[in-house]
């Protein structure tokens, strides 16, 4: 077992973990943060995407021990009293149906907009290439991210 200390959604946790434990399993099973989902076992689907020190990471691609000292935000910690522009845009643009890919999609989009606040449609599509959605055909997800970008630009200019 290894000891880790990690901040998740604003709370710091110290735990003994098996070295083989995937970070997503630590989030879901040890911390009970089940907003982050598992959709595959090959790191293709992106359902488990969270923000680690501000950047999107598929939480199945890292071990819990690698999160030691990190500051992590999951879909459950994004909203600070009110929804973020990305969450709101997914709602307003009907960017989700079953919602299973949504936590990862929203985290990936949040990270994308931090790196590129004014993406083109093509850049949005490439930015979300690592996240699979089976319901929407992506069109409304792309529209949601574009709306969030516009809104965030408006807020900062």
């Amino acid at each position: 077992m290894a000891k880790i200390s990690v901040s998740v959604d604003g709370t710091t946790y110290s735990d003994e973990v098996e070295p083989r434990t995937l970070f997503v399993h630590y989030l879901r099973e040890t911390l009970g943060l089940t907003g982050t989902n598992v959709g595959c076992d090959t790191s293709n689907c992106g359902a488990c995407t969270v923000l680690v020190d501000g950047r999107s990471v598929k939480s199945c691609t890292m071990l819990a021990v690698q999160a030691d000292g990190a500051e992590v935000t999951t879909v459950q910690g994004l909203a600070n009293g009110e929804w973020t522009p990305v969450q709101r845009a997914f709602h307003e643009k009907h960017g989700l149906q079953c919602g299973y890919c949504t936590p990862g999609m929203i985290c990936a989009a949040t990270s994308l907009l931090r790196q590129n606040p004014t993406p083109t449609e093509d850049e949005i599509r490439h930015g979300l290439e690592g996240n699979l959605c089976r319901c929407t055909g992506y069109q409304n997800i792309v529209a949601a991210v574009a709306q969030a970008a516009e809104e965030m630009q408006g807020a900062t200019s």
């Binding site: 293709n44 599509r125 699979l132």
Partner: protein, 810 residues
């Protein structure tokens, strides 16, 4: 009575944002895998690595000793604990349906067939212990190829059977079809391969079972589309009194037909939990899900079309081989039958015959996948219409116009026996062609052809219709299906004037909570936000037949509308009493009851709800209740239709295909929520286009699933998908109160042939007349080279040998 027309502002028709989203965008979800119960154990299944083998011995002793392991069971040890998994659709009286046990007992019949189960204190311990189970297999010949399996004398997928044919289902065509073919000026025959697909809902399947030993009750949470069907089947399969079984479909992450089933793990975990007296959870890994959740499609279609010299269709003959996989799941044998009625599509013709043989192979069972039978039929008819157009030398849209039912001709009785209630193919087509710039693209295509451009342009058409809204119960009975197709709804006015709607449909992404609130809001005159919709729990919603076959709105929505009507009617008696007027003089409008000619005297449905709750003053002989139940059994299917147009650029040197424009104009009648409808269309398009372009299951000759992960089975990403241009025409259904038609499957049914027709259209001048799906660069290139080597001036089909379907993107 419910005069929606008079109301200034109605919810129906508005793009109201979804109530469902709040928990989904904030992660406050309850997927089955999230559920943790005190003392809960975890199950993991050992699955067969062989497609076909006899189990000669299993030693579980070492696994039992592993840390955290509570128990290990083999299939043989549990054989008495449950009955065989159910197939609810015995399509013929002599259908062969060998027993399908939750765990194999003596013979494994596909890679992924369950062999043993470990129950442990945590999931990791259960998975770790699987490696300590020692199984000896004696390999048997694996039956993999569908057409070979159907041959007389072929090795069999079940060693105790002497043939792989499960059933032969003929649709009487009589001698008319042969006469039509013999007398026709043009006869075109094709063999189309509709490849096997994996539905791949992003939430893998999961089951949690909580037994209550003292009462004999058991609660089952499952990632299922069909909690009601599952409850009934668990009761039957496990001999549990039905009233003791509660099934809950909590948040369910997509289904697309694959969660319309009764699975081995659902039966197995229920049996184990009750046997061990402990709650147990099982969650599929993705690779496990790809092996052990049903696949879709997998048909070989022999189709012949006969037409007069001027292009009028005379007859259509279809002979189908449908791969059932290793076992018959819940509705496996019925899936091709749903297609049987759809091959004639929108076209008038004199003769039609259809025959399907369901065939066993040593592969994952097939069953419903978005469209279920209708995408396959639509693919074949829309493809061969293009082939007939080429044979005659007629523009493919012109050929369609010459043969389709015109809008004045509805209702129209089809050669396959269905009566289409309404439609307007001309209007949808005209709009689609305008949005697409059909003539402009044809001109551009001509220019590229003349210039010999290495990147050719193709234009693909699909003027589809489909039958959905499953289904009139009597029709299902006539097709030997084991249940009906009705749907139930309950509407309850609460004392505070709020409303609970209970529906028997079981949404998993479709937005029923929002759409049903819109319907109830209009028909009760209660604000949208005052309505909640309850579903997916057999204790809360005891009656229902769940969600599949684009049925929820056109069956369940009508049940809801009529339940609202009943509540309004019930409340009217109270209104008359309160307003001291005759019931005949009471008018209802937008939630308000008033006396005719004296609008000052009025009350609201909410006030009546409180008065009914109090019960202080009410008319004699009237029940003190503002609840209504309604079961609606449809009289007919619903027939959405539309025109889909796809432009592709095909690089003739590399075989690479790029979709450059996709336009569809669908007609699904009246619309409750256009935003949700558009989302359904987008998602449907994505899955249909994915079949054409990227997805395909591959097995090797030994029956190993080669496309068993998301690395090898390539779901489209945001980069792959084109931008869609969608629009609608509205021709209301005449077969239901709301004038609505189903939409869940339409995009998937329509889009696949539009894309393939487009690519074949691009390459037809080079002699190509078919490209195998998925149209990877390799498959396109193979079709091109086969055509080239067939020599100048003649055309050829891409042969299977030279163009094996490729699963992966290249």
């Amino acid at each position: 009575m419910t005069a929606v027309e008079d109301r200034p502002d109605t919810e129906i028709g508005k793009a109201t944002l979804r109530k469902e989203d709040a928990r989904l965008v904030t992660g406050q979800t309850r997927w089955t895998d999230n559920i943790v119960l005190p003392g809960m154990l975890h199950a993991s299944l050992l699955r067969s690595p062989m497609a076909h083998a006899r189990i000669t011995s299993i030693d579980t002793s070492a696994a039992t000793e592993r840390p955290g392991v509570i128990a290990v069971f083999t299939g043989a040890e549990l054989a008495e604990s449950y009955g065989a998994l159910p197939c609810a659709w015995p399509v013929t009286p002599d259908m062969v349906n060998p027993p399908h046990m939750a765990l194999a007992t003596d013979e494994v019949r596909y890679v992924g067939d369950g062999v043993a189960v470990v129950v442990a204190r945590d999931r990791a311990s259960a998975v770790d212990a699987l490696e300590y189970i020692d199984v000896t297999y004696e390999p048997l010949e694996a039956v993999v190829d569908l057409e070979a399996a159907a041959q007389p004398g072929a090795p069999t997928a079940h060693s105790q059977l002497d043939s792989n044919i499960s059933y032969t289902w003929p649709f009487a065509g009589g001698s008319a079809i042969e006469e039509a073919i013999e007398g026709a000026a043009h006869v075109v025959h094709r063999r189309f391969v509709n490849q096997r697909l994996i539905p791949a809902a992003i939430e893998p399947r999961a089951v949690v079972v909580d037994p209550q030993a003292a009462s004999g009750e058991v609660t089952v949470w499952s990632a299922t589309q069909v909690p009601h069907i599952l409850r009934l089947m668990l009761a039957l399969t496990l001999s549990i009194p039905e009233q003791k079984v509660r099934v809950i479909a909590p948040d369910v992450g997509g289904g697309f037909g694959s969660k319309l089933n009764v699975y081995a793990e659902e039966v197995l975990l229920t049996a184990l939990a009750m046997k061990m007296g402990r709650p147990i959870k099982w969650t599929a890994t993705r690779s496990e899900d790809m092996q052990a959740t049903v696949h879709g499609r997998d048909q070989v279609q022999q189709i012949t079309i006969a037409a007069d010299a001027d292009g009028r269709i005379r007859g259509l003959k279809v002979e189908l081989l449908a791969d059932m996989g290793a076992y018959l799941q819940l509705v496996s044998p019925g899936v091709p039958l749903l297609g049987a009625f759809m091959y004639p599509a929108i076209y008038k013709m004199d003769a039609y015959s259809f025959e399907c043989r369901g065939v066993f192979t040593n592969k994952t069972p097939t069953d419903a996948y978005r469209g279920a039978g209708r995408p396959e039929a639509t693919f074949a008819i829309e493809r061969i219409i293009d082939e007939l157009a080429a044979e005659i030398g007629m523009e493919p849209m012109e050929l369609r116009k010459r043969n389709w039912i015109t809008h004045e001709e509805f209702p129209y009785e089809m050669v396959a026996g269905l009566t289409y209630d309404s439609g307007n193919y001309e209007a949808a087509t005209a709009r689609a062609m305008e949005l697409f710039d059909y003539d402009g693209l044809r001109a551009e295509q001509q220019r590229r052809r003349e210039q010999g451009d290495p990147v050719q342009l193709g234009i693909g058409i699909s003027t589809f219709t489909e039958m959905c809204g499953l289904a009139p119960s009597r029709v299902l009975g006539s097709l030997s299906y084991g249940a009906g197709g009705w749907e139930a709804a309950t509407v309850r006015m609460l004392p505070t004037g709020k409303v609970e709607v209970v529906t028997g449909t079981s949404p998993h992404g479709q937005g029923h909570v929002t759409a049903w609130s819109q319907i109830a809001s209009d028909y009760l005159g209660v604000p949208f936000d005052d309505i909640d919709v309850l579903h997916g729990d057999t204790k809360v919603s005891p009656m229902g037949l769940d969600t599949y076959g684009s049925r929820s709105l056109v069956v369940g929505g009508i049940a809801l509308k009529r339940a609202c009507d009943k509540v309004v009617e019930k409340a009217k008696k109270f209104a008359a009493h309160m307003l001291e007027a005759s019931e005949d003089d009471i008018e209802f409008n937008a939630g308000s009851y008033s006396v005719k000619g004296d609008p000052e005297k009025s009350t609201t449905i909410q006030d009546i709800a409180l008065a009914v709750f109090a019960g202080h003053d009410y008319p004699e002989g009237v029940e003190l209740d503002l609840t209504a139940n309604m079961v609606f059994d449809p009289e007919n299917f619903s027939y959405p239709h539309g025109t889909h147009l796809c432009a592709t650029e095909v690089d003739t040197e590399t075989g690479r295909v790029t979709i450059t424009r996709y336009v569809c104009v669908d007609d699904i009648g009246n619309v409750v929520n256009p935003m949700i409808v558009e989302g359904q269309v987008h998602g449907g398009l994505a899955q249909g286009i994915a079949q054409a372009m990227w997805e395909g299951v591959e097995y090797d000759d030994a029956g190993n699933l080669l496309t068993g992960t998301f690395i090898d089975y390539t779901l489209p990403t945001a980069v792959d998908m084109p931008h869609f241009t969608t629009d609608r025409t509205e021709t209301p259904a005449t077969s239901n109160d709301l004038g609505v038609k189903g939409v869940g499957e339409a995009g998937t049914i329509a889009s696949t042939p539009a894309v393939v027709n487009s690519v074949v259209d691009a390459l037809r001048p080079m002699g190509v007349t078919d490209v195998l799906m998925p149209m990877t660069p390799r498959n396109v290139w193979a079709a091109l080279s086969a055509a080239r080597s067939a020599g100048e001036g003649s055309t050829t089909m891409a042969s299977e040998d030279s163009a094996r379907p490729e699963g992966g993107q290249q």
